[in-house]
Amino acid sequence: MGNVMSASFAPECTELKHEYDNCFNQWYSEKFLKGLSMENECSKQWYAYTTCVEAALVKQGIKPALDEARKEAPFESGGEPSDSK
């Protein structure tokens, strides 16, 4: 794994993503897994990254398919399809 990190689907967001990932991975191992965190940290990096991603989702036309999938399998239910048979 080392320092190699996955890119963003939008090249213009890759750097912001790496900054967020760095922060998140550390938080996850050092705090979350140890039960030491009461909040989702890295909010500064997150805000910058997600603003970039939101715009790119619209620009690249991915948003409609994503919205459809979100309706079908909501985040709130852990991605479980709401009409699962």
Binding site: S6, E39, G78, E80
Partner: protein, 228 residues
């Protein structure tokens, strides 16, 4: 609709496996995964349950005319929602393809939990449900829409293109069921095919647990790939 299942064990503790889950791409096994993005991430009030929504981007190689037709580009996308629960010690990932979802949908659930007797091991369970939706008539309607839009008043040319597309489509459509069957056989046989070549955590987990959607993306694409 078809269902698949697969179970595996990893020689690493659960918490390590879950940490690796966030950083497993890029890796040498799944080179088709070109990007991974986090779209939403929330921690519950107790601080023990982390829910994340990710967008996985894969390279895709389908004929250009077909991608125009079904409205996708050279990239395909998978949406994944995952929950890490420290109370139940489970990491559950649910994913579904966004690309070509009107033709074929693969709903996959993956779960990682500690081994019941050996805490240095992690159990992995994978389940997928594959549904093909499109019928020949819905595809024809799409082609018609596309050809009308594309060729506009140049009717004769449009008609010609439409005919050849239809011809190719009907020939290949008959093979679709066969291809979906082939895919199901392949998925079922996967467990036996896995050979552990390294004890590297990422590589091992990746070999065993690659998303069915991405692992079989070629076969899935083939089912709709009339060009070759």
């Amino acid at each position: 609709m078809r269902l698949f299942q697969n179970t595996q064990e990893f020689n690493y503790p659960w918490d390590q496996v879950t940490a690796a889950n966030w950083r497993k791409y890029p890796n040498e096994v799944s080179t088709h995964v070109v990007a991974v993005d986090v779209l939403r991430r929330e921690l519950d009030v107790s601080g023990t349950r982390l829910t994340s929504e990710r967008l996985i981007t894969c390279k895709q190689s389908i004929p250009k005319w077909l991608s125009t037709l079904i409205g996708s580009s050279n990239k395909s996308f998978v949406r994944e929602v995952s929950v890490v629960d420290l109370n139940t010690k489970t990491l559950t990932l649910k994913s579904c393809n966004l690309t070509c979802a009107h033709l074929l949908k693969v709903y996959e659930t993956v779960q990682y939990m500690p081994h019941h007797s050996d805490l240095n091991k992690t159990c992995f369970r994978q389940e997928a449900q594959i549904t093909a939706y499109a019928t020949i008539s819905t595809l024809c309607n799409r082609i018609e829409e596309w050809s009308v839009k594309r060729f506009g008043e140049n009717a004769s040319k449009g008609r010609q293109g439409f005919d050849s597309v239809l011809q190719m489509l009907s020939t290949n459509w008959e093979q679709r069921d066969k291809l979906v069957d082939e895919l199901s056989t392949k998925v079922a046989g996967t467990v036996d095919e896995i050979i552990i070549t390294t004890d590297n955590l990422i590589k091992e987990t990746e070999l065993k647990s690659t998303s069915l959607i991405s692992r079989y993306s070629k076969q899935i694409q083939r089912a709709f790939n009339f060009g070759n």
